[in-house]
């Protein structure tokens, strides 16, 4: 039987936690996926700058 341990019930998650998590996902998107959808022309600079990281983390690239 699993009974929720004390440390589980102790953590109260505020609403803004979801905004924080969303921010994390958006940053991940900008670094790994941005192909011009959100930033337009300047995205190519971003794309080229993070180029090796995108490849290395296995994200589809050009």
């Amino acid at each position: 039987m699993t009974s929720p341990a004390a440390h589980l019930s102790a953590v109260r998650v505020p609403k803004w936690a979801f905004a924080v998590a969303l921010l994390g996902l958006i940053v991940t998107y900008l670094v790994l996926q941005e192909n011009g959808l959100a930033l337009g022309a300047s995205s190519e600079l971003l794309h080229e700058f993070f180029h090796d990281g995108r490849h290395a983390l296995g994200v589809p690239c050009h």
Partner: protein
């Protein structure tokens, strides 16, 4: 004992930064070797028109900047994933509830690695420069994100199933959950279409696989490393054992 979301999130940032830095180090020392070899393959081709991507003379960003930028990107991704990880950890109500914070964090890190790195790596292994066809990049990205989403659903479903089956004995329950995960992974691998691109003939197989394995090592460093470091930072037992060690040394 950590009781606020804020302190968990800060530790997520720290753990993500550390795991990201370790992954960036793997990139510098390991993954850059096959990337350099692949760029040499690309340069050996005649300046193909319409590549849509510049590694050569008319480059937007120099090679040196790409190496540094790539490492920086991995660290930033580490921090961002750390934030999402800490939030998922804070929200988890049924994730190995009978274990210590360190074990829970390590198990979550391993599960995230399986869902967002290993599963897509098996279905759509990453490619070094000079392989991808720019024409298909959006299609490939959609497939990749689809597999990542499917992987996360499998992880969530496994914890849901484990909770539902809690009346069973532990060995039976673990076996049932494992069988369900294997079945779900098999369905995902069969249901998603094959990778659309063929590997160009001038790309040596050794370079290709050296790159893919380096990439997997980097992803494991990032995600499992995040689980380990986050676990170390949140588990009160870390400090207690440290204190005991100093006492033993003294």
């Amino acid at each position: 004992m950590i009781t606020t979301y804020r302190s968990l999130a800060l530790r997520g940032i720290a753990a993500g930064g550390i795991a990201g830095a370790a992954s960036a180090l793997v990139q510098l020392l390991v993954t850059e070797i096959p990337i350099r070899a692949a760029l040499a393959v690309e340069e050996a081709r005649e300046p193909a028109a319409g590549e849509g991507h510049s590694h050569g003379e008319e480059e937007l960003v120099s090679r040196g900047a790409q190496v540094v930028g790539g490492m920086l990107g991995v660290i930033i991704v580490g921090i961002a994933v750390g934030l999402v990880f800490a939030t998922a950890y804070a929200l988890s109500k049924r994730w190995f509830t009978d274990r210590t914070p360190f074990s829970r964090s390590l198990a979550l890190g391993a599960a995230v690695f399986g869902a967002v790195a290993l599963l897509p790596w098996i279905k759509y292994p990453g490619n070094p420069p000079a392989v991808g066809d720019p024409e298909t990049v959006n299609y490939r990205t959609a497939l990749y994100l689809g597999v990542v989403a499917a992987g996360l659903v499998i992880v969530w479903g496994a914890s849901w199933l484990a909770e539902r089956l809690r009346t069973l004995t532990q060995p039976v329950r673990v076996t049932a959950v494992l069988l369900a995960v294997v079945a779900a992974v098999a369905v995902v691998l069969l249901a998603f279409p094959a990778p659309p691109d063929t590997i160009p003939a001038d790309m040596p197989v050794t370079v290709l696989w050296q790159f893919r394995l380096s990439s997997l090592a980097q992803l494991a460093t990032l995600h499992v490393g995040l689980g380990v470091v986050f676990g170390l930072l949140i588990d009160p037992a870390t400090r207690r054992s440290k204190a005991a060690q100093t006492a033993a040394v003294a």
